[in-house]
């Protein structure tokens, strides 16, 4: 965006100020008044804690001995950015895992939504419910269930693989889904697929908002199913895809629960599951380096903002808004 366009973008606000009527002022005040509880909540529960965490990041602060807290300037920031190799490694692990799980998760949710949106599927409402149901199970329970399902000795996935393929999948030399560094991200991705219900529903809502006349016109023109999918369906739901993408990217950066439930954040196997948030938690609450933990949290916040801005920035190249004049 050029400077001129930015100035132009700001100009209407200036005009708005001069043109505002007393009635609008009153309405604005009432609006603010009704927003007050949220503003108070935001200030008390988000803004002040954020400021506090920034102050913590400038301290050497062990919460078990708070009387020994000491101001150390930006030492924690220097350590995180330049000296602690685990910060970069845990971030790379997070990106690597996201690169596997995020596209698979989104594609699977979209795949289910497209299937359920088909007129040819009988009992689609039943399927919709069934596919949504696993996401109603608490994630901790889901992870523990999958831990059993993927057990190398007794898990039914290995038993099925061995029975139908003859591959030695069961036993200590079999497929060790959660202990093999090559398989562990795939296993964690499988946990995630159980929770695609909400994404599937949102995709479904997006699909149902695509005007049917577009499909009818395409059918008359002789477009195949894949052509309709590529030329109509996907472009029309790009706003929904963008929304899902942003949510999932932020969710991936904050990935924590599964590795923590399964191995208490030890990073097993070979540190592969010591994702950034796991490392943040360990530093803050297990190693009791609350000041350093606060620094790690701020770094992740900054990375999250940058990625979100980038995603929004790229949106103009691939997201199609039907109401937009393009």
């Amino acid at each position: 965006m050029s400077l001129t366009s930015m100035v132009n973008a700001l100009r209407p606000q200036k005009n708005f100020k001069t043109k505002i009527s007393s009635l609008q002022k009153k309405e604005a005040l009432w609006g603010l008044f009704f927003l007050t509880p949220w503003i108070i909540g935001f200030i008390g529960l988000y803004f002040f804690p954020m400021i506090a965490s920034f102050v913590f990041s400038l301290l050497e602060f062990n919460p078990t001995v708070p009387d020994q807290a000491a101001y150390i300037g930006f030492d924690n920031w220097r350590r995180a950015l330049f000296e602690d190799p685990e910060v970069g490694l845990s971030f790379l692990r997070t990106i690597r895992f996201s690169a596997i799980s995020l596209p698979i998760g989104l594609a699977f949710a979209l795949f289910l939504a497209v299937l359920l949106n088909s007129k040819n599927v009988l009992g689609s409402q039943l399927y919709r419910t069934l596919f949504y149901m696993p996401s109603m199970i608490p994630l901790v329970a889901t992870v523990l269930i999958w831990n059993g399902v993927l057990n190398e000795q007794t898990g039914w996935i290995n038993i099925i693989i061995q029975k139908f393929t003859g591959i030695q999948a069961v036993g200590s030399t079999g497929l060790r889904w959660l202990a093999d560094p090559q398989l562990v991200y795939l296993a964690y991705t499988m946990f995630g697929l159980w929770g695609v219900g909400p994404a599937m529903i949102i995709f479904l809502a997006g699909l149902q908002g695509v005007p049917t006349e577009l499909y009818e016109a395409a059918e008359i023109d002789g477009a195949s199913w894949f052509q309709r999918l590529g030329k109509i369906t996907l472009p029309m739901i790009t706003p929904v895809i963008l929304y899902q993408l942003i949510l999932n990217v932020i969710g991936s950066l904050q990935y924590f629960l599964a590795p923590f439930v399964l191995n208490r954040g030890t990073g097993f196997p070979e540190g592969m599951t010591r994702f950034y948030m796991v490392y943040f938690f360990k530093q803050s609450f297990t190693f009791q380096n609350m000041g350093y933990g606060a620094t790690l949290a701020w770094l992740m916040f900054i990375v999250g903002i940058i990625l979100t801005v980038i995603l929004f920035g790229t949106a103009k190249y691939w997201v199609f808004y039907a109401a937009e004049d393009k």
Binding site: T64, P85, Q153, S172, T286
Partner: protein, 485 residues
């Protein structure tokens, strides 16, 4: 006009709701008294004096195994019934999460009043968080003459004070499954330090790590009935193992070969002691070459599961363990005969690692005086034995040591009269110094790091262990540098 009034009314309602939401809740006690008023006429300002609540956190050491829950609860009930001033509240947290739980509680200003039993590792994991008991000991004229002065001094930590009063000692030894030795036609391991081991061919050999490996391999079998020393042994189908260092971490495994520390004497340089280097390589070979120690892949196998971990499954012939394991929760239900034997030597020296437990009061305790009152009850001559028999420790009180094991056996294993407790007592002469659980810079982070390496070694065959050890040393140095900067 009417709209304006409605708006005002609505605004007032919102303000009232906000004020109500922000105002402090009514004290529960008032409600309780009002409720009692209906039955008994008790004036609200004359409510009966409430007992002081003292929270006792269990989980950093012994006491978080299910079998110990009921007797600990009974102890608490007995204490609560014995007086009217204090209500002791028991909080048992699984050892796996106890460290995180306690640090979160302390950080949130919700510290318990008593923590224990707690060993050196637990104590040093929370360096600076414990109360110096010296003023309370002086104030209460607490008599320490019944303890070995060296043991009392063990808890006197520089710049921190007297962090505990001795409670229990837990020597270590080899615990073996007698039935598996008999089935394999092998002689039992030495019952006394200095005794030789008699091999199947009748030759007498020193009871050292080489012998332990050989015997362990002869006790490791595959599903075809072949032992690990026999040609054709199938390492993918093992059904019985010979040995493991159970319920310990890499520092404990290293100490099996000799005392040492990951921190050099200067307090800031990371090192791998030679004995630990040898112990870790021996164990790694035991996992992946000699096959007599269950590796990570076998760790979760069904045939090694039992209430007291792999040994109680009946498919593991020997473990190195402490007295706290010789307890009903671990061995009460096993279907095989077992006994205690000497710890083997390494390069002619025996090192039998020691656990010494106590109870600590966190600095964050809301009522340290009441906590100390409970503590003195727990450590008293009359009641320490009940707790020790739950945790399986030798009493630190000299006056209780006399017939302790006889009483313990009678209480916990009435049908077993041949437990070789002598070897446990004799093992105290070979206690590790420095202790395998002693302080390291950034204690938890360092622990986390070496455990990460250990998980890799126990789950991955074919590693260059020398290179791995160097990587570990470098990683520890990075942690130490950051902690001591």
């Amino acid at each position: 006009m009417r709209n304006k009034r409605i708006q005002m009314l609505f605004a007032l309602l919102v303000v009232a709701l906000l004020i109500a939401a922000c105002s402090p809740a009514k004290p529960a006690a008032t409600t309780a008294v009002q409720a009692t008023d209906e039955v008994v006429e008790v004036p609200t300002d004359a409510a009966p004096a409430e007992k002081v609540q003292v929270r006792w956190f269990v989980g950093l050491g012994a006491g978080s195994d299910e079998g110990t829950f009921a007797p600990q609860k009974a102890f608490v009930e007995e204490y609560n019934a014995s007086q009217n001033e204090i209500e002791l509240m028991l909080e048992i947290v699984d050892n796996d999460v106890a460290y995180d739980t306690l640090s979160t509680q302390i950080a949130a200003g919700n510290a318990p009043d008593i923590v224990g039993p707690i060993g050196v590792r637990g104590r040093d994991s929370f360096k600076g968080a414990w109360l110096d008991l010296a003023p309370l000991i002086a104030e209460n004229n607490y008599d320490l003459s019944d303890y070995d002065p060296a043991l009392v001094k063990f808890y006197l930590i520089q710049e921190q004070g007297q962090l505990g009063i001795p409670f229990g000692i837990f020597p270590s030894f080899i615990l073996y499954n007698q039935d598996l030795f008999e089935e394999a036609g092998l002689n039992l391991p030495p019952a006394k330090y200095g005794d030789k081991y008699v091999m199947p061919d009748g030759s007498e050999v020193e009871w050292n790590m080489d012998t332990l490996r050989d015997v362990g391999m002869m006790l490791t079998f595959d599903s075809n009935g072949k032992d690990a020393k026999t040609a054709g042994f199938d390492s993918t189908k093992i059904t019985q193992f010979g040995f493991m260092n159970q319920f310990t971490d890499p520092r404990g495994i290293g100490t099996f070969f000799g005392s040492g520390s990951l921190v050099a004497d200067d307090g800031k340089t990371a090192q791998i002691p030679d004995a630990w280097n040898a112990a870790w390589k021996w164990t790694y070979d035991g996992y992946w070459k000699d096959w007599f120690i269950p590796n990570g892949a076998y760790g979760g196998a069904d045939f090694l599961q039992g209430p007291g971990g792999p040994f109680s499954s009946g498919n593991l012939a020997m473990i190195h363990i402490h007295t706290w394991y010789v307890a009903p929760w671990a061995l009460g239900e096993v279907k095989f005969d077992w006994n205690l034997a000497a710890t083997p030597s390494y390069n002619g020296t025996v090192t039998s690692k020691m656990h010494a437990d106590t109870f600590c009061i966190p600095k964050g305790s809301k009522d340290p005086k009441s906590a100390f009152k409970v503590l003195t009850y727990m450590l008293s001559k009359e009641h320490a034995t009940s707790l020790l028999s739950i945790y399986g420790g030798m009493p630190a009180r000299l006056s209780l040591q006399g017939d302790y094991f006889a009483t313990y056996t009678e209480t916990n294993f009435p049908d077993k009269d041949d437990i070789n407790w002598d070897v446990a007592v004799a093992g105290m002469a070979f206690a590790d110094n420095p202790n395998h659980e002693s302080w390291m810079p950034s204690f938890q982070e360092t622990t986390d790091k070496y455990n990460e390496f250990w998980n890799k070694w126990s789950n991955t065959a074919g590693l260059d262990i020398d290179a791995e050890l160097e990587q570990l040393r470098a990683a520890l140095q990075t942690i130490f540098d950051a902690a001591l900067a």
